[in-house]
Symmetry: C2
Subunit: 214 residues, 2 copies
Amino acid sequence: MKMAQLSTASGIAVPTIKMYLREGLLPPGERIEANQSRYTEGHVRRLRLIQALMRIGGLSVAAAREVLGAIDSDLELGHVFAAASQAATRALAAQQLDAHDFERADEMIGGWRCEGDSPGRAGVAAVIHAFDDAGQAPGDEWYERYAQAAMIVAEADLDSIDRVEGRDAKAVTVVIGTVLGDTLFASFRRLAHQHVSHLRYAPDARIEPTQEKK
Amino acid sequence: MKMAQLSTASGIAVPTIKMYLREGLLPPGERIEANQSRYTEGHVRRLRLIQALMRIGGLSVAAAREVLGAIDSDLELGHVFAAASQAATRALAAQQLDAHDFERADEMIGGWRCEGDSPGRAGVAAVIHAFDDAGQAPGDEWYERYAQAAMIVAEADLDSIDRVEGRDAKAVTVVIGTVLGDTLFASFRRLAHQHVSHLRYAPDARIEPTQEKK
């Protein structure tokens, strides 16, 4: 298909597609004339993946390029996971953290087997540090319940990767799941806040049928 | 204290503090001379809160201004929660979602009592849509396990708000917890991915003591 048809098929505007080509996120089509290329269904699928990573997952062009590169490589799955985690985790101001923050983070993630340079470890340390700074340190139990919930989600993620056949399809699942999973969890968390608030502070609201929200 | 001391006390550079003043995130100090103001411990605490929201939580200046405004207002806690959720949830391309996406989202959040215009509902719908687009739809069970984990975290969040005394302190906890909770969960999730991967694909690694990660 030509550029105009690629735009129709993917629902993405031509200038946006051209930007993705320029930035190396989308591989070039097959050149058929000096000024025209031909694109395939593979380009449509790739465009949808790019959109999912950038628009829903909020990844920058650079971060998207990095994780797409990991998919395209023949890296083993563990490395794809690491690349996706790295790209999808906000650059945390690790230089501001001291050894004590990391020690406390290690206590919170006690029994788990993790790499010391995981962006997750710096993330936990950064949050502990920020709460301390704000004079709002929540108790250890709060962290423990987050860790317990994260384990449920991680098991679900790995089950869903296990179910996909083939290294390349698995690599796409890893990347999209890492990025979209953050958005999904944050969304469910907002909804659960509403639900629990209703139950605790306005329990009579339970009487209304729950499905009529529009 | 003067500007230079405020910078030392907060660990934040003077130009950054001046930017926060210009942007209205930090209230002005008490003017003592034409060219000099006096700042208080309250300014130091406020600066730490701003840093937590922007550097660790990744909020933009506009989003930080919005949630700080909710804290400073006398809005009741439910509205502070809503403002924090709105600001901390990435602007989701809701216009691209159709009624079907929202129906599927409502199925996933079935029994919960939530507002229809919650950013969480649009977030769940956007993730469902993106997975469909990418041809990677995970099963309903995957969503259910995320919802179950989100409920654990929401209960923990509300318990921790309940423990804080006074409307203003509660409002700060709501805002900082909403924003930092996302980062904390995403961090724990990355670590749990590593741990579960180790257990599943390299179980002999369990033998090593887990506390020696550095």
